[in-house]
Amino acid sequence: YSFFPGEPRWPRHRRDLTYAFNPRNMLTEEVKTVFSRAFARWAEVTPLTFTRVESFSNSDIFIGFYSGEHGDGEPFDGPMRTLAHAFSPPTGHFHLDREENWIISGEGGDGVISVPEAVDLESVAVHEIGHLLGLGHSSVEGSIMYPTIMTGKRKVDLTTDDVEGVQYLYGENPNFNGSISPPSPSTQQRDTGESGDASRI
């Protein structure tokens, strides 16, 4: 795992975070639910909480879908290629490319999605929330913070690498009693990396 330079994190007095969606996107409840599932995965292993609010101007985290140049000097590039980006704490900006074909896959963990030329929205959301919390990219291929995601794939379960990184910044969730299941052979093969075998939570 890695961090942004200086290891920025949300300050102690701001651990109960709010998030809101750009009202111009007019997102459906179904899309918004994907993000609440993604936030819940990080909340499970940290003392952080995430609450959705309607006011886009007063929240801690701002989520929006944009095309091309959208004001931060990092223009999106159309289908595939760059999918999304997010800023280090305590900025809270989370931008996704609205020109992607986003798949709103159902509940559940890692797997495959039905359309190879599309991208699983929850997988990208879990990754970008890692950035919003202060994580950089990881070289452990099976980890959430690995920079690339194969189209047609769903990768939402936090691995040991992700959890170690985020708990280095915020500590553990006092109520978390999750066990780290031994990785299935395919997962183990995929996750083995320098920091040892990452396992999925």
């Binding site: 999918l83 709103i104 950089g136």
Partner: protein, 136 residues
């Protein structure tokens, strides 16, 4: 657009993944330092976007496979656990074209991804006994 997993994205809206610009990078398979290749400057722009070539090299890139690009390729291969050859081999370019997060892998010239088993030297100096711990 947003589509439920079980559905089929309307064919007219499927933007063919093979048609995206990055796939043209596969044409550089086998390219190596010392030569010049048409369009190689676009790959340099890609590596700069993700931090492998410092912003100080802004401006017009050439099509020369120079040391700037070779160093970027080697750091990329290290980060993605590929053979570090500095050559644009097939595995490297197949990794390059995969859709990804827009955040850079390298910040201020420091590659954070390959920190891998990064050690921290922590020393508690002060009145009491001097502790020196290494966190891996």
């Amino acid at each position: 657009g947003f589509y439920p997993n079980s559905s089929v994205v309307p064919p007219e809206l499927i933007r063919n993944a093979t048609g995206n610009l990055w796939n043209s990078f596969l044409n550089f398979t086998g390219c190596h330092a010392g030569n010049k290749y048409d369009g190689l400057y676009k790959l340099k722009q890609y590596f700069q976007h993700f931090g492998y070539i410092p912003e100080t090299f802004s401006g017009n890139f050439t099509d020369d496979f120079d040391d700037i690009l070779k160093n970027a390729v080697e750091m990329y291969q290290r980060n993605f656990r590929l053979n570090v050859t500095g050559v644009l081999d097939e595995l490297t370019l197949k990794q390059v074209v995969i859709p990804r997060c827009g955040n850079p892998d390298v910040v201020n010239g420091t590659s954070t991804m390959h920190s891998g088993r990064r050690t921290y030297e922590v020393s508690f100096s002060g009145g009491g006994q001097r502790f020196h711990a290494v966190k891996r």
